[in-house]
């Protein structure tokens, strides 16, 4: 098996896809984001509340490949408790780190695991799907 690919899937992606963070539907959530890739059919719903400008009770649910599920799970984990401003910066850093190697330094290890997706252009969207929807949400807010 290809070592770069194993690198991409290594512990972080396998762990998050098998044991996703806060994997549950929450119809009563104040905010609801639909992340859908019509090319492959992957689709995740993100749920959270806004309390005094902070993101609370983040969860997600849906269906997708290991990479898209893990990248959404990592997003959910790191959104929790952040202010909208902090979260927007974080999402931008994550997306920048994927677009150009070495662009952003000192990222959490769980972000860097997705950097290997750069070697597989067909899979980049899986690493960014929910993150890009989040970036759009901040733009509109």
């Amino acid at each position: 098996m290809n070592p770069r690919l194993k690198e991409l899937y290594k512990s972080v992606i396998l762990k998050h896809s098998k044991e996703p963070v806060n994997y549950e539907k929450r119809e009563d959530a104040g905010e609801h984001i639909d992340a859908y890739n019509s090319l492959c059919g992957d689709r995740f719903q993100l749920y959270f509340d806004l309390e005094e400008g902070k993101i609370k009770d983040v969860s997600f649910h849906g269906y997708g490949c290991a990479i898209s599920k893990a990248s959404t799970s990592v997003l959910v984990k790191f959104l929790e408790g952040k202010s909208l401003g902090e979260a927007q910066v974080m999402v931008k850093e994550y997306l920048d780190s994927l677009s150009v190697e070495g662009e952003v330094i000192d990222l959490p290890e769980e972000f860097e695991a997705f950097g290997a997706a750069r070697d597989f252009p067909g899979r980049m969207k899986c690493a960014t799907l929910a993150w890009e929807e989040m970036a759009d949400y901040f733009e509109k807010e």
């Binding site: 098996m1 690919l5 059919g41 290991a66 067909g122």
Partner: protein, 402 residues
């Protein structure tokens, strides 16, 4: 049939990529040297526009363009080359029938029948026309093996049905549908039948007169030809009735500022400068395919599918999607809970080219309650050792993910 090793020499792609296990021929076939050279030579030494040109080159190109029509007619057993319309592909062919032929015939309350396994190309055009005309699109269900439920199909036939459109070989499931019987049943109610031959044109001896289908749609690129060229066959009486949906140069008889009368078919359906090089390439592809007996190709496809089913049976947690005993060279499967795109990425790094996704049959995937499948599909150049590599790598993937 020639040996696979010998056949592979016809396809330069395998020289460029010696390690490639290409198991994606249902998406597109590779092109033999004769087709590639034929197209290059056309541009190099024969290029000109067809019809109205009086000079030699134009006359030669026009003659060649029309000669291909005859070759295509012979390949599918059409009565006349006039029944062959050049289109951009299967999708284009079906859209032409839906809009140029069916729309006029369809009234509110009428019905159109398709099967649950249709490709989006043989679903959306009918869905659109039905919505527009207030007609109902009805879906013929499948049995547990993924085959068309013939008893239900027969019950669905009535005077209200104005069209049946059915795929010959399913691109998602690999099954060969009993289209002869379906066509005969539909004709009892005078229902015209369109056959989607995208997968079958290469792998079965498709003969429009023995099948008695009213329309046949297929693409050049799945039968060793170039992309962007396809064919619509239609029975002469229906082509007479069918209206053009694209208007412009080359499809007219007389034009004034107020009125236009159209040329007879097939010209009335070929407005503008068509894909001439595509037609020339299609001609070489038909010549190439005609070197083979498609009964033999069909046997070979069945052999490869059954070899693949044996090999895949050794992979843990494998589930074959589409269990018909009457199948061609296409195998769709699931591997435990591993998503098909993850599988495809791993296989891709080992130079094993397969397709993962809904295969443009989203409603079928919903019906089967699966998001997508992984699909291996074969052609005349496919080898058993490529299937061996697939099965071995699937075992690795399975253990990596468990």
């Amino acid at each position: 049939m020639r040996s696979v090793i010998d056949i592979r020499r016809d396809f330069p792609i395998f020289k460029q990529h010696p390690g490639l296990a290409y198991l994606d021929s249902a998406a597109t076939s590779h092109k033999p040297e004769a087709v590639i050279e034929g197209i290059a030579n056309f541009y190099r030494s024969e290029n000109s526009n067809i019809h109205r040109g009086i000079y030699d080159l134009a006359a030669q190109t026009s003659a060649k363009y029309e000669a291909v029509r005859k070759n295509v007619a012979d390949l599918i057993g059409a009565e006349s080359e006039k029944e062959i319309i050049y289109t951009s592909g299967t999708t284009d062919s079906i859209n032409l029938v839906a809009h140029g032929f069916l729309a006029e015939r369809l009234n509110p309350g009428d019905e159109v029948l398709i099967t649950a396994m249709e490709h989006h190309a043989n679903l959306i055009p009918w869905q659109m026309v039905c919505k527009w005309r207030g007609a109902k699109l009805r879906i013929i269900p499948l049995n547990e093996k993924g085959e068309i439920d013939m008893a239900v199909y027969k019950d669905m036939l009535s005077e209200r049905v104005k069209m049946l459109a059915v795929v010959h070989i399913s691109n998602s499931l690999g099954c060969i549908n009993p289209v002869e019987e379906m066509i005969a049943e539909a004709h009892k109610f005078d229902i015209p039948v369109l056959l989607d031959g995208a997968q079958s044109i290469t792998h079965l001896p498709v003969d429009v007169r023995s099948l008695d289908c009213d329309f046949l749609a297929f693409s050049g690129h799945k039968m060793f030809g170039p992309t962007g060229i396809g064919v619509l066959y239609g029975k002469a009486a229906y082509l007479e009735e069918m209206q053009p949906v694209r208007f412009g140069g080359d499809m007219i008889r007389l034009v004034s500022y107020e009125e236009t009368t159209f040329a007879p078919f097939p010209q009335k359906f070929e407005a503008g400068t068509t894909n001439i090089a595509g037609v020339i390439g299609l001609g070489y592809a038909v010549d190439y395919l005609s070197n083979f007996d498609r009964v033999e190709i069909h046997k070979r496809m069945k052999e490869l599918r059954s070899y693949a089913l044996d090999k895949l049976a050794d992979v843990p947690d494998i589930r074959i999607i589409g269990q018909s005993d009457h199948s061609s060279g296409i195998v769709s499967f699931m591997l435990g809970n591993v998503h098909p795109h993850d599988i495809a990425t791993f296989l891709g790094t080992e130079q094993i080219a397969i397709r993962a996704g809904h295969h443009c049959t989203q409603p079928l995937m919903n019906l089967l309650e699966i998001p997508a499948t992984t699909r291996a599909s074969f052609s005349i150049y496919s080898r058993e050792e490529e299937i061996d590599r697939l099965a071995a790598e699937l075992k690795n993937i399975h253990s990596f993910f468990s």
